[in-house]
Symmetry: C2
Subunit: 267 residues, 2 copies
DNA sequence: TGTTGACTCTCCCCTTAGGGGAGGTCTTAC
DNA sequence: GTAAGACCTCCCCTAAGGGGAGAGTCAACA
């Protein structure tokens, strides 16, 4: 006969656990002193304790273990084992899906962080044609968020790049602007209210703007000066690419937003 | 402004959950009527609620989410994401190990069940030589369990078959038997107290016995009669193979035990 | 204006598998 | 005899809500 402390060392279960198993009727001490309440365990119970620990390791619940120990029936045992297996398999599946989502999230955030490295100089580059889905809006710029939200819901995983805004006005307008929220997509699909088409290739003058949107005026001025200096002609619509903005998940800090101004030009 | 019920439908979170998030300070209603305590939610909170639901899906804890929503810091965000990822990866690893253990357990049990299909007729067969580890004991048969336990601990995953007992007595002895507990192994290894050697090939008369060990006398009688009828000569040691006995984990039901008696013979 | 049914409130207990600790009792060694 | 260490019971705590009781509130309809 072993006291609970000795038995704890022999079985590898803590004293608390042993008391708990007693209370649960899972591992009842061979003898309990009626006067003092002291628990005394039998030598044969070491094996039982090991079995219980083993089954706990296999993620069986206490009540499952009680059932397992209670029955000597083969078929029922196999059944319980397989149920447990498939349950755990489900958990694994779910966690793996979670990991995939996290990975995507992480890579998006990483890319956002990498954006901060890009230089802020005016440059000229050739844009390739790309397939986009767009929703055209006339009104305030603050309305564009809804457009992106609708596009996002409609095209989901077909999206293959950063969202962009096309400006059809030749000058800045505050409350009656004509613009189009666009998302690059990898495959055509018809969604109500959205126009899917190829955005043509273009030579453009570009500048990366870092910081909140309300400070983009200076950046625009820089680009337009460049264009004027070289006597280029602006081709509408102009583009604004949101390399890093308020994400799906987190609003982020506006001073870390990164936007590329792309002004298509001729001549 | 939406009542909690409306907001629950809009956000997909239960009313209980919303109240809980309020209590936790995670999603505080835009307005709480001081007179009635009614919660009213803002339109913008739908997005927050969705974000929270999304993060809960990624297995973030409430306090993690509070932290995530509280900070707009990129680096901290990435850090939290990666910590979460590696934590979940750990969980997956553990569960997969669990599944492997369960699989082994299941296959053992299945094999045991398959044993029940074997016929119970005396037969003659040729046994191949096999490598075994054995511990020889003189004494009571009830001592053999300890021998198997020691062998099991010593050889672990090298074991490649059912345990067997070799009987060196030419007749049955109760309290001073000479026998050896053996386990077939797939590779030599020296373990204190155990002898590793090749058990020779042999022609033998065999019979599968189903049921508890104390009823093996009848089965032995059947085999010995067969041998006597044919004038064979018994070659010691005889063997008893425990196709299904009290397993590592479960004692099982003795009436389902399956044992093969193998008596090597000459002539 | 009254009623009624649906909605909401707070408060309390419950879930798993034990962990932590307080306060009191028991055993055991010196 | 005494003191240390072992053991006891009892109570509270975990995470993320779920279930329900009893009471108050809102909105529609007569």
């Amino acid at each position: 006969m072993f006291s609970i402390g000795e038995f704890s060392k022999l079985s590898g279960l803590t004293v608390k656990t042993l008391r708990f198993y007693h209370e649960e009727g899972l591992l009842v001490p061979a003898f309990v002193d009626p006067g003092t309440g002291y628990r005394y365990y039998d030598e044969r119970q070491i094996e039982t304790a090991r079995v219980i620990a083993y089954l706990r390791n296999l993620e069986f619940s206490i009540s499952d273990i009680k059932e397992l120990l209670g029955q000597a029936d083969e078929a029922g045992l196999l059944d319980l084992l397989e149920r447990q297996r498939s349950q755990i398999k489900e958990q694994v599946k779910h966690l793996q899906k979670t990991i995939r989502s996290l990975d995507q999230f992480i890579s998006e955030e990483r890319q956002g962080l990498a954006m901060a490295e890009i230089s802020e100089n005016v440059s000229e580059k050739n844009l390739d044609a790309m397939l986009v889905a767009g929703i055209r809006v006339k009104g305030r710029y603050s309305e564009c968020g809804k457009g992106f939200a609708r596009l996002g819901r409609g095209f989901g995983r077909l999206i293959c790049g950063s969202p962009l805004l096309l400006h059809y006005d030749s000058e800045y307008r505050d409350d009656d602007a004509d613009f189009e929220a666009c998302l690059p997509i990898r495959q055509r699909k018809s969604v109500e209210g959205a126009s899917v088409r190829e955005l043509p290739a273009a030579r453009c003058v570009a500048l990366v703007h870092k910081g909140p949107y309300d400070q983009m005026g200076r950046s625009y001025a820089k680009v337009l000066k460049w264009i004027k200096d070289r006597n280029y002609k602006v081709v509408l619509p102009t583009r604004e690419v949101y390399l890093k903005g308020p994400g799906m998940i987190f609003r982020g800090n506006p001073k870390n937003y990164v936007t590329e101004i792309q002004i298509p030009v001729e001549g």
